[in-house]
Amino acid sequence: MSHPSTYEPNSGFEKWLDARLPVVRVMNDQFITFPTPRNLNYWWTFGGILTFMLISQIATGVVLAMHYVPAADRAFDSVEHIMRDVNWGWLLRYTHAVGASMFFLAAYIHTFRGLYYGSYKAPREILWILGVLILLLMIATAFMGYSLVWGQMSFWAVTVITNLFSSLDAVVPGIGTRLVQWIWGGFAVGGPTLTRLYSLHYLFPFLIAGVVVLHIWALHVPGNNNPTGIDVKGPRETLPFHPYYTMKDGFALVLFALLFASFVFYAPNTLGHTDNYIPANPLATPQHIVPEWYFLPFYAILRAIPSKLFGVAGLIGSIVVLFFVPWLDTSRVRSTRYRPIYKWFFWAFVVTCFVLGYLGSQPPEGVYLILGRIFTAYYFLFFLLVMPVVGWIEKPRGLPGSITEAVLGPEAKPQAAPRQREPEAAL
């Protein structure tokens, strides 16, 4: 939340700088003394984890680009060259590849946390929309990065996904084909496609970084939501971000890094597909084309709809619907904690996402196809029907009077919070 600045420039240089570019003041006010609700749980640590993952991906990506060759006849070999010849190349590439998975894992947890605690509700709609925009950019970036390996899965994933745009031929004949040839730079996926994917894969992470700055900005205007979903009532209910939440986020980050490192060092290829170690062959499609695990639910939605145009519309709609969540949810309370009916629908939605993920990895036939259709229907009904209707008919459980009361019980006497000490003492 916006709060009066507590920054006191001490030295002459700090005063000189503060009058010209108050960057130290902004850092102090937004990341040291920033008032943060006292009751944030560990689900709130994924914002920090995601920031770490973005930095990790950019750092490993920039050095991988020093060795990778974006040419159709050399890309695959250059990846193997990184794995075998480049000093620490195996570590850098596995960190980057597993890092993409970890990035999505954290992003999905972060998104579900926002959904559960109603963090998208007023006054945080823009914050939420920027988050969905980051998710969209992440999806595009991960897809383009995966293509650069130029193995069989890379090549055919690019073919299938770029061909999605040809479904526009059903709207205006010819326009889809023109668009796809424009994306390819030819009449099929080939060298020109690879170089442009490489160029954009380098650009997009910096777009993400830019939107992340806006996302944090939009967060710091109303301040954090919290597990009760009720507004902070006064300074007693907050703690300065440092050291309280830097420590909490830091601890969670260490645990997350343990998981990340276990994959990098002990199971670096478990999350990938073996077919991507076969060089791309434009004349042979693999038996089953399967995307990386983090795209499987969306892939299941694409395949569940038996029409090319509407399948593509469903795929895009499954993300785009998130933009409208702040207005689809009609409930007066934010946190699902106090929503006895919606709670069940929410967890059914979480299960749906997992089931769709499993179905996306299976061939689209028989019972898998039928289940895919049922769960795809629920995916959309959750947003378009459950959110507006349940919010309207449900009687929420009684909200606690304040964050303090929610944590310490109704009889608890408010006690002085340890906050806003002198900067030296806080450090």
């Binding site: 061909n163 390819w184 996926v189 499609t285 689209p364």
Partner: protein, 201 residues
Amino acid sequence: MADNVTPAQFPIPQDEDDPSRRDVIMIAAGGFAAVGLGLGLWPLLDQMNPDQSALSLATIEVDLSHLEEGQALTVMWRGKPIFIRHRTAKEIEEAKAVPLDDLIDPIARNPNVPDGSPATDANRAATDREPWLVMIGICTHLGCIPKGQSVTDYKGNYGGWFCPCHGSQYDTAGRVRVGPAPQNMYIPPYAFITDTKIKIG
């Protein structure tokens, strides 16, 4: 600013400052800038279209003399696989026996016959050379390469081609019979230049 500087010292001739005149200048300048922006943007977008070297690979010749009845051949044209099948009499009969009403896509998709021609076997096969079927071997759903060129491939229920990605099936004239593919496999522009040689493109 000093107090003694008043607008009166900089008289604005009212008759020359007609507000509508300013609007015209603003709109004209804005429009001109927009046109300039569009012209400047066009090369940045058009550079992504297929380049001259890709366009120059547009024609190939293929020798078919060694292709026996029942055999198939795959060649590359514009980076795409071209399926050439020397069909058996049985395969031709099967394709001819299909009523047009049974087809998902009733259009021939063949640039060598008039636009919008029905997808009869005659309109799909080479003109006056019925055993020969030449088409772009790309599934019209999402661009995978269907199975069916090799003798041992599973060819689907209609004996033509089967796409492993999403299960589309094509008959012996390359027409889609089971979705999700919306259209018959496309036929490239081609012609027989001798009895055993075709030119594609």
